[in-house]
Structures are given as structure tokens and as C-alpha cells.
Amino acid sequence: MTTKTLPPRPAPCWRCRIALLLIGTAVVASFAYLGIDYRALGSMESLRLMGKFIVEFFPPDLSPDFLAKAGTGALQTLAVSALGTVLAALAGAVLALPASGRAGWLPRHAARFALNLLRSVPELVWAALMVLAAGIGPFAGALALSLHTTGVLGRLFAEALENAPREPEQALTLSGANAVTAFSYASLPLVLPQWVAYTLYRWEMNIRMAAVLGFVGGGGLGQLLYFHLSIFQQQQAMTVLIAMFVLVTLVDFASARLRKGLGPAYA
């Protein structure tokens, strides 16, 4: 009686099953290929060593001298991220002009290619390269951040420019203004709020990134952490880890507060 009213059973999704099977195979193959010795990881001996390693991190070094050092590291991380973002915003704006297609086909594609290349290399790889170019230190970190961020911001800036209406600029040009004046009084005010929002957003991400760029020699908290771990000063390393945690949490909190005020321009 009830079987009559039931809708027909849906056809089995073969494509989903095959995809699931393939994904399962890939996962199993990955674990097999890596061949990590899980039994050794979980053995009493290695657990004891792990425990000993963790205990060495406590208590964190809270002497005023070291706190001052960690504070300087945090300030340096902030400075590196800010400088990297400012340089990237300037370079991104310069590259966004041709990339938005206002100079013709060839400059547009050349600029887009450059932006894609800058963007597809991660910050840490740029940092490893910049350490060779500028020497170990925060300046290399700032350069690395600015190279990657230029790629990201340039693309976003160009898209904002392409989406902005052209009529105000045309009106100024037709009434006799030169190109620079027409751009800065008609198009720039339209896109500037969006550009600033994008830049602030990337700055937030760059603070987090700048904290770890020091692992390859980019200054700031990361370099401090790497240094103290390398000479087996776990307690000092713990202090730096806490400083990183505090910095990242503060940035998260501040950006959440700011974002509420900025609203949709941040999207």
C-alpha cells in the first residue's frame, strides 16, 4: 500500500562513486608513499622524547631583557609588514594602470603576465631569493612581501578600475583636461575607497606572514624564533611563540572590529 506512494529510488551517481574511489585511493597511496613509521611515532620511547621536548619549553623566559627583545621583534614584524604593504600598494597601482587595459592590448597582457608571475611565487620563496639580494634582515622580508603583494593588489586594483564607470573621465577629457588630471579627478576618487580597503586587508594578512618570514632570514619574530630554536633555547622560543600568538590574535580582533565599521567595501 505504502510502496505505491513512494517516489522512485534515485539513480546511483556513478561519477560521484568513481570520484570517491579515486580520492580514497589517492589518500591510501599518499600514506603508503610517505612511509611514515607510525608505530615508531607512537612508541613509548618517542612519546617520552616528545614529552621531554615539550617540557623544555616551560617556563617561558619572561625576564625583562628578553621581553624587550621579543617586543622589538614584534615591532619589527609590524614595520616589515607595513613597509611591504605600502611598497606593494604603490607598485600595484602603477602596474594596475596598464593591466586595466587603458593603454592597449599589449601593455595589458604584459602587465597581467608580470602580476601573475609575482603572485604565483609564495612570499617565503621570494624571501629566500631576497635574502641573497639584500642580505639577511628585515629589509629582505619587506621586499619579499611587497613582491608577492604587488601581484595580488595589482590584479585587484586593475579589476576595480575596469569595473568603475568611464563617463566622468571621458567628460573631463572631452572638456580639455589632460590625461593625468582627468584620471586623478574622475577615476581615482571612484576606486580609491576600494583600493584602500584591499590594501588594509592585505596588510592584515601580511602581518601574519611577516611573523614567519624570518625562518629564511626575513627579520622580525620569525628570525628570533628560528635563532633560539637552533641553539636549543626552548624557553626563549616559547616566549617568541607567545608573542606571535598575541600579535596574530590582536590583529584578528582589530580587523574584526574595523570590518564591522567598513562594511561591504571590505568584501
Partner: protein
């Protein structure tokens, strides 16, 4: 406009002149210590020593190293990177899915009304939420560095680091996806007396499975990129190889690795968008 008469004319003066001037002065006052703290020395780039080092290194970029021995090494490292990303994401799923299930408000019985076990449930949920926050607060590369010190060089550190950080991210996002869907079917089931697991499977998953799977695939794509980067602190794969080539200033090897890395990221991007289209 720039005639002296115009400057003297109060109607043509910038009304915001003093404010603008103050803003520029403040910006400079902030910028100065910032520049000195970040050791802003552009001329260091053109110092003879640095220029020679980077020049020689970049000159070595062409042609990329294509010797069979190196290509075999490169192939192994690429496979290792992919395996690290896949294994790490799988472990992250194991950590993130239960925590997301515990923390999501869409399956909270105590939100429907007062009942037994309300306090314990609240405590468990808050604890799980804090755990998720701690897991994702520390970047994966910091975990990788710590694990490399504890376990030695190799992909195990990278897999564990990915599992921890991405587990935290997946848990949080899963909980949010479950909350953003239509929660009325799950609520009806819960009010009818079904268990939370049944409410999840029959009330929420039919609506959200696609989005959950799509986000997981996207995370895998991020994990591929992250596992290359983690190699720089010794967690195996392409990154470790690139770190070695850069330390030996071998430009040919570095450019081969960079090309493979770019191809790998592109491939992961294509594969992930294909998978997501299949799921849509």
C-alpha cells in the same frame, strides 16, 4: 590657476590645506621609525657583493637543470609534496569533522529549550571551540618547524603540521557552513526526539554536503602550496629541495624547481576546480 593672484585669492585656496599638511606630517612621523626598524636600505641591493651574488644566481636560472639524475630527484620530491598535502588534508578532516560537528550551533539541543545536560553540553562546546582556535592560531610553518626539531627532517613533520592547522580551519568552517544552511529540517528532527547524529545525516548533510566537500577540496589546493613552503624549514618535498639549491646558489636547479612548482600549483588549481564542478 598657479598665478600669484590665485594663491592670494581666498576663494581658490584649498580649504583642507592645514588638515592635509598635518596628515602628511603625521604619516612621515610614523614612517620614519618604521623605516629605521625595518632597516630600509635600498642601496644594499646595489652593493657590489650582493649584486654579484644575485646576478650570478639569476644568470644560472637559464637554462633550467634538465639532467636525468636531477629530474628523477625532482619527480620524487613532487610526489612527496603531493602525498604530504593529501595525507595532511585527510588527517585534518579526521580532526576537523568531529570538532565541527560538536561546535556547530545548528545541532544544539540546548538552543531549542532547557533540558537535561545543558551545562555539560555548553562546557563541551566552548572547550571544543577554544581547541579549534588554538589549533589554527599558529601558522602551519611554525608547527612544521617545531615538529622538525622534535621528529627530525622529513615529510612526517609537514603532514602533522598540516593536520593540526587545517584541522582547526576545517572544523571552524564546517560548523559555519552547517549554521548557514537551512536548519529547519534538523531542528524538526531534534524536536521530534532524534539524536544529533541522525539530525546531521538526514537534516543537514543533504543540503550542505556539496559545500562541505567543495571547501575541503579547496583546502587541499591550499595544502599543496603550503607543503612546498613548509619544505623550507626541512619538512621534505619540493621546498626542501629548493632550499638546498638556493643555499648552494645553483640557479639551474632552482629555476627547474620553480617551474615544476608553478606547474604543480596550476595543476592543483585545475584538479580542484574540476572536482568542485563534479560535486556541484
Amino acid at each position: 590657476m598657479s598665478t600669484p593672484a590665485a594663491i592670494g585669492n581666498p576663494a581658490l585656496r584649498d580649504p583642507h590645506a592645514t588638515r592635509r599638511l598635518a596628515a602628511w606630517a603625521a604619516a612621515l612621523a610614523i614612517a620614519w621609525p618604521m623605516l629605521s626598524l625595518s632597516e630600509f636600505k635600498p642601496w644594499a641591493l646595489f652593493g657590489s657583493g650582493n649584486l654579484a651574488v644575485i646576478g650570478g644566481f639569476l644568470a644560472g636560472f637559464f637554462p633550467p637543470d634538465g639532467s636525468p639524475a636531477f629530474l628523477a630527484l625532482l619527480f620524487k620530491a613532487t610526489l612527496e609534496t603531493l602525498a604530504m598535502a593529501t595525507a595532511g588534508t585527510a588527517l585534518a578532516l579526521l580532526i576537523g569533522a568531529p570538532l565541527g560537528f560538536v561546535t556547530t550551533r545548528a545541532l544544539s539541543i540546548s538552543r531549542i529549550g532547557p533540558g537535561p545536560g545543558r551545562v555539560q553540553a555548553g562546557v563541551v562546546r566552548q572547550a571544543a571551540r577554544w581547541l579549534l582556535m588554538v589549533l589554527r592560531a599558529i601558522p602551519e610553518i611554525v608547527w612544521a618547524l617545531l615538529f622538525v626539531r622534535a621528529l627530525g627532517l622529513g615529510p612526517a613533520s609537514g603532514v602533522l603540521a598540516l593536520a593540526i592547522t587545517y584541522g582547526g580551519m576545517l572544523g571552524k568552517v564546517y560548523a559555519e557552513i552547517l549554521e548557514s544552511a537551512d536548519t529547519r529540517p534538523a531542528r524538526a528532527l531534534l524536536e521530534g526526539g532524534s539524536g544529533r547524529l541522525a539530525a546531521l545525516c538526514y537534516g543537514l548533510l543533504p543540503n550542505t554536503a556539496q559545500e562541505l566537500a567543495s571547501y575541503t577540496v579547496y583546502r587541499w589546493e591550499c595544502a599543496v602550496r603550503a607543503s612546498v613552503v613548509m619544505g623550507f624549514v626541512g619538512a621534505g618535498g619540493l621546498g626542501q629541495l629548493m632550499d638546498q639549491s638556493m643555499k648552494m646558489l645553483n640557479g639551474g636547479e632552482a629555476s627547474s624547481i620553480l617551474l615544476v612548482f608553478l606547474a604543480l600549483v596550476l595543476l592543483a588549481d585545475l584538479l580542484s576546480s574540476a572536482l568542485r564542478r563534479l560535486l556541484a
